[in-house]
C-alpha cells in the first residue's frame, strides 16, 4: 500500500466521520475502490476508528462480498438455487468456464475475471441470473455467454460505459396487482392522511386493520409499534428489512423498484407513530443496482418536504431515512442480525430478551418491519382499516404478495388475498402440473399435492412470499439437499447446533440422496434435524432442518425408494476409501488385503 493509498483509506474513514457503527460502509467503500481489503487497509481503518484490527477482520470476514486478496476486476457471480439449476444454470456455468478458460471459483491469470457461484440473488422469475460487479444479468442462455464475455472485456465499470452488456437489466415482475398495488398512490398521499391523526390514533388504525408482519413471522404490526413507542430511549428508530434473502422471493425487489414512495411513506408514518427521527433501510447487497434510484427517490422526497425537518409542514416532526447496503449474508434478514449489521458488525443474531422494540439499533427502541409491511401500513392510512380487513381471512387480513417461480407458465409477483389455496395459486400462475411446491423458501415447508388444498395464511401455510413450483420430472430429495447446502453456506457460526448441525445434516442428506442410507441413517438424520430445531439460537438454525423434516413428512415414499436394506452401509465405498493409497502406491489392492 502506497502512502497515497493510506491517505485514500483515511479519507474514506473520515467520510463516515470515523464512526465505529459505519464500519460496514467504510469497508464496502474500500472494497469497491480497490477490489479487496488488504491487511494494510485493515490497519488504517482500525487506527482511524481507534479499534483493534481483529475487530475489523471479525466484521469483514463475515460477509461474502468482501475479499482479503485481489480477485478479478470483473466478478461474475452466478446464482445457484434449485430454480436456477432447473432453468439451466449448470450449462451457463460451463459456457462461462469455456469462454474464460477457468473453473467456477477461479480467477483468470490476467486478473480480468473471477467466476463463482453465489446464493439466491432475488431473480427467481428470470433465472439463470448473475451479478456482475453489482449489475444484474438475467435469463442467460449458454449461447449468450461468448457475447456477454466479449462485452464485459470492453466495459469500463468505473465510468459505467462501453458497449451495452447483453442480458443486463431486470424485467418487471409484477404480473397481478390487487387492491394494495393498483390504487392511486402519489408520494406522500398516505403520509398526509396519517399526519391528520395523532400518533396514538395512527397506531390504533394499524391495530384495527389487524396488519401482521409480511416477512412471514406474522407479528401484529400495531402491537410492535405500540411497544416501541412505549419503550424509553434517547432515540427511537424505524428499520425496514429489505434484506430479501429467502431463496425464491423477489416481491420486495418489485416494491423497491416500482413503489419506493409507498415504502418510504410507510416508514415515515411509522416514524411519526413511534416518535422516531431516523429511518434505516437495510438493502441486501445483491440489490445494489437499486441504490441510485432509491437515493434519487429520497432526494425527491426531501425536496418535496416529505422528509427532513417539519415533514409535510407538521411542526416538530423531523424524519429522514438512510440506506444501509448489506454485503452478502442471508442471516442479516433475521432482525437482530440485521441490527448488528446496521451497527457495522458481523451479522450474528442477538439473544432475546431484550427485544428490538426495547433495545434495538444502538441499544435504542427500534421497530423492524418488512418492506411489504410498510407498504400495507401506508395504504391502510389512505384507505382505512376496514378497507384492509375486507380482504383476506379473519386471522390474516389483507392481501399478500407472492413471488412464484419454477415450473409454472407465468412466474412473477402476484398480489392475492390471504386464504387462497395452493391449488388456486397454481392455476393462476400456470403451474397446474406441480408435483411439489416449496412454500416460504427453504426455511418454509415442502408441500405435496395431497396438501394443495391448504391455504396461504398465518393460520395455515405462513409465508414471506417465496413459492417455488416443481414439476413431476424434478428430484424432490435432490432439491432438499440443495437447500441443506444453502444453510451450510449461510449459517453464521455463532452457535454450535446450527454451525455444526447444518453441515452434519447436509452430509446425512447426501448419503440418503446417493442411495447409501439405511433406515437407521434416515432416522438418525431426523433425530439430528429435530435437535438442531430445538437447540439453535435463532430462526435460521431453528428452520434450517425444515427442507429435510417437511420432505420426510410430505414424501416418505421417496425416502423409502432410496433406502438400503440391512443395518449398515458405510458412507464411502471401499474403493473410495482406498483411493489415496492406490494413488500413492500405484497399484490396486489384491483381494485378500481387503
Amino acid at each position: 500500500m502506497t502512502p497515497g493509498d493510506t491517505v485514500t483509506v483515511e479519507a474514506i474513514v473520515a467520510e463516515f466521520a470515523a464512526d465505529r457503527s459505519r464500519l460496514l460502509d467504510i469497508v464496502e467503500t474500500v472494497q469497491s475502490r480497490y477490489g479487496y481489503v488488504s491487511d494494510a487497509a485493515v490497519q488504517v481503518i482500525a487506527a482511524g476508528l481507534r479499534i483493534h484490527s481483529v475487530e475489523v477482520e471479525d466484521m469483514l470476514s463475515f460477509y461474502a462480498f468482501f475479499d482479503r486478496h485481489p480477485r478479478g476486476r470483473v466478478r461474475i457471480r452466478l446464482s445457484k438455487t434449485p430454480i436456477s439449476i432447473m432453468k439451466g444454470a449448470t450449462d451457463v456455468a460451463h459456457a462461462f468456464e469455456a469462454a474464460l478458460g477457468i473453473d467456477m471459483g477461479e480467477d483468470t491469470p490476467d486478473g480480468a475475471f473471477t467466476l463463482q457461484w453465489t446464493s439466491d440473488i432475488g431473480m427467481a422469475d428470470q433465472e439463470p441470473a448473475a451479478l456482475v460487479n453489482g449489475m444484474v444479468l438475467t435469463a442467460i442462455k449458454p449461447g449468450d455467454v461468448p457475447t456477454i464475455v466479449a462485452a464485459l472485456r470492453q466495459h469500463d465499470f468505473q465510468q459505467s460505459h462501453g458497449q451495452p452488456i447483453p442480458n443486463a437489466g431486470v424485467k418487471s415482475s409484477l404480473v397481478q396487482a390487487g387492491p394494495l398495488l393498483s390504487g392511486p398512490s402519489a408520494a406522500g398521499e398516505s403520509l398526509i392522511a396519517a399526519l391528520a391523526l395523532t400518533p396514538d390514533q395512527v397506531i390504533e388504525v394499524i391495530s384495527a386493520s389487524k396488519l401482521r408482519g409480511r416477512g412471514g413471522a406474522g407479528f401484529p404490526t400495531g402491537t410492535k409499534w405500540r411497544l416501541t413507542r412505549k419503550s424509553k430511549g434517547q432515540n427511537h428508530y424505524v428499520a425496514c428489512n429489505a434484506d430479501e434473502g429467502e431463496p425464491g422471493t423477489f416481491k420486495d425487489r418489485v416494491l423497491l423498484s416500482e413503489f419506493p414512495h409507498l415504502v418510504f411513506d410507510g416508514m415515515t408514518i411509522a416514524g411519526y407513530a413511534l416518535g422516531a427521527r431516523h429511518g434505516l433501510v437495510y438493502l441486501r447487497g445483491e440489490y445494489a443496482y437499486l441504490w441510485d434510484a432509491l437515493q434519487a427517490a429520497l432526494k425527491t422526497r426531501r425536496r418535496q418536504g416529505l422528509l427532513g425537518s417539519n415533514v409535510c409542514g407538521h411542526v416538530g416532526f423531523d424524519f429522514d431515512i438512510r440506506i444501509q447496503l448489506g454485503a452478502g449474508a442471508y442471516i442479516c434478514g433475521e432482525e437482530s442480525s440485521m441490527i448488528e449489521s446496521l451497527e457495522g458488525k458481523r451479522g450474528a443474531p442477538r439473544d432475546r430478551p431484550p427485544f428490538p422494540t426495547e433495545r434495538g439499533y444502538l441499544q435504542q427502541p427500534t421497530a423492524v418491519d418488512n418492506v411489504e409491511t410498510y407498504v400495507c401500513a401506508a395504504r391502510i392510512m389512505a384507505m382505512g382499516a376496514a378497507w384492509f380487513r375486507g380482504y383476506g381471512t379473519a386471522a390474516s387480513s389483507g392481501t399478500k404478495l407472492m413471488g412464484v417461480s419454477g415450473d409454472c407458465e407465468r412466474p412473477g409477483v402476484y398480489e392475492v388475498p390471504f386464504g387462497i389455496t395452493v391449488n388456486e395459486l397454481l392455476d393462476l400462475t400456470g403451474g397446474a402440473d406441480a408435483a411439489y411446491v416449496q412454500v416460504s423458501g427453504p426455511s418454509g415447508q415442502s408441500v405435496a399435492p395431497k396438501d394443495f388444498g391448504r391455504r396461504i395464511a398465518y393460520e395455515d401455510l405462513s409465508t414471506g412470499g417465496s413459492t417455488m413450483v416443481f414439476g413431476p420430472q424434478r428430484d424432490v430429495l435432490a432439491v432438499a439437499l440443495q437447500f441443506a447446502e444453502f444453510f451450510v453456506d449461510e449459517s453464521c457460526g455463532w452457535c454450535v447446533p446450527c454451525r455444526v448441525g447444518t453441515t452434519l445434516l447436509r452430509q446425512g442428506m447426501e448419503k440418503i440422496v446417493v442411495g447409501r442410507a439405511t433406515l437407521a441413517d434416515i432416522m438418525a438424520t431426523e433425530t439430528l434435524a429435530n435437535t438442531v430445531v430445538r437447540m439453535s439460537r435463532c430462526g435460521l438454525g431453528q428452520t434450517a432442518p425444515n427442507p429435510i423434516l417437511t420432505t420426510m413428512r410430505s414424501f416418505p415414499e421417496l425416502y423409502e425408494a432410496r433406502m438400503q436394506s440391512g443395518s449398515f452401509v458405510p458412507r464411502v465405498t471401499l474403493s473410495e476409501a482406498l483411493a489415496d493409497a492406490v494413488q500413492v502406491q500405484g497399484r490396486q489392492p489384491v483381494a485378500e488385503d481387503i
Binding site: 491487511d39 479499534i51 483493534h52 484490527s53 481483529v54 475487530e55 477482520e57 471479525d58 470476514s61 463475515f62 449474508a329 458481523r346 439473544d351 430478551p353 451450510v488 453456506d489 449461510e490 449459517s491 453464521c492 457460526g493 455463532w494 452457535c495 454450535v496 447446533p497 454451525r499 455444526v500 448441525g501 447444518t502 453441515t503 452434519l504 452430509q507 438418525a524 433425530t527 439430528l528 435437535t531 430445538r534 437447540m535 439453535s536 439460537r537 458412507r571
Partner: protein
C-alpha cells in the same frame, strides 16, 4: 437497599432469585447444576454453545443469557434435554480434533467432562477432520486451533477483563475460526501468559507452555468427580 427476591421452579424445585440474575446464576447459587460450556462465572455470557438450553414455560432458551423471572417453570434435567445436550457436545467432538487419550487437558477439559457427564460413549456423527493451524509464535502460550470450540470465552476475557482485545472470530459458519489481533500470530499480539484470556479456555486450545503436567493425569479436576459436582454440593437438603 436489598432488592426484592422472587421465586421460580426448576424441575419442580422451588428456587429464590434476585432481579438481574440469569436462570443459570440463580440455579448455581441454589445448588442445581445446569450443564454449560461457553459460560464462565467471571465473564459476560456469550450464548454460543447452547448446552445450557432449558425449557422455560414450554420454550427452549439458553439459561446463561435468560433472566430469571417470577413464577417461571424451568425444565432442566429431562431426557430430551440431556439427549439434545449430548448431541451438541458430540457435534463439537466431530467438528474439531479432540483426542482425549493424549491431550494435555485430559481430566481438566470441560468438553471431555461434559461428554462423560451426559453419557457420550463415542461420537455417532462423522468426523470433519478440519485442517487448522497450530500457532506456536508466542513464547509462553500455544494456540492449537484444532482444539478450538469457538466458545468465545477468550474473546470476552481479553476484551473485558484484560482490556486488550487480542481475539476475535474470522469467517462464518463451519469455516469460522478464532483470529488474533496481529498478522503473523499470537506472538505479535499484546497477549501475556498472566492474562485472564489465557486461563479461561475450557479445552486445550490455549495452553500455557511448560506448565501442562503440574497436576498429573488422574489427579485433575474432573478425574475424581463429575463436572458440576461443586455446584451440586451447595444444595441444601
Amino acid at each position: 437497599m436489598v432488592a426484592a427476591t422472587f421465586r421460580f421452579t426448576v424441575d419442580g424445585i422451588d428456587i429464590e432469585a434476585v432481579p438481574g440474575q440469569s436462570i443459570l446464576e440463580a440455579c448455581d447459587i441454589a445448588g442445581i447444576y445446569i450443564p454449560r460450556l461457553c459460560y464462565h462465572p467471571d465473564l459476560e455470557p456469550g450464548g454460543n454453545c447452547r448446552v445450557c438450553t432449558c425449557n422455560v414455560n414450554g420454550r427452549n432458551v439458553a439459561a446463561c443469557i435468560t433472566p430469571a423471572s417470577h413464577g417461571m417453570r424451568v425444565e432442566n434435567n429431562t431426557k430430551l434435554l440431556t439427549d439434545d445436550r449430548r448431541s451438541v457436545i458430540e457435534m463439537l467432538f466431530v467438528e474439531g480434533e479432540h483426542p482425549c487419550p493424549y491431550c494435555v487437558a485430559s481430566g481438566d477439559c470441560e468438553l471431555q467432562a461434559l461428554g462423560y457427564r451426559l453419557g457420550m460413549a463415542a461420537p455417532t456423527q462423522p468426523y470433519q477432520w478440519p485442517r487448522r493451524k497450530i500457532d506456536t509464535t508466542h513464547p509462553d502460550i500455544t494456540l492449537d486451533h484444532n482444539r478450538c470450540i469457538l466458545c468465545s470465552r477468550c474473546i470476552r476475557a481479553s476484551r473485558m477483563a484484560d482490556g486488550k482485545t487480542v481475539f476475535g472470530f474470522d469467517g462464518r459458519g463451519i469455516t469460522m475460526t478464532l483470529n488474533v489481533d496481529a498478522q503473523g500470530g499470537l506472538g505479535n499480539t499484546q497477549m501475556a501468559a498472566i492474562d485472564k484470556a489465557a486461563h479461561v479456555c475450557p479445552v486445550a486450545c490455549i495452553v500455557i507452555n511448560r506448565d501442562s503436567y503440574r497436576v498429573p493425569n488422574g489427579r485433575r479436576r474432573f478425574d475424581a468427580r463429575p463436572i458440576g459436582s461443586d455446584i451440586e454440593a451447595r444444595r441444601k437438603p
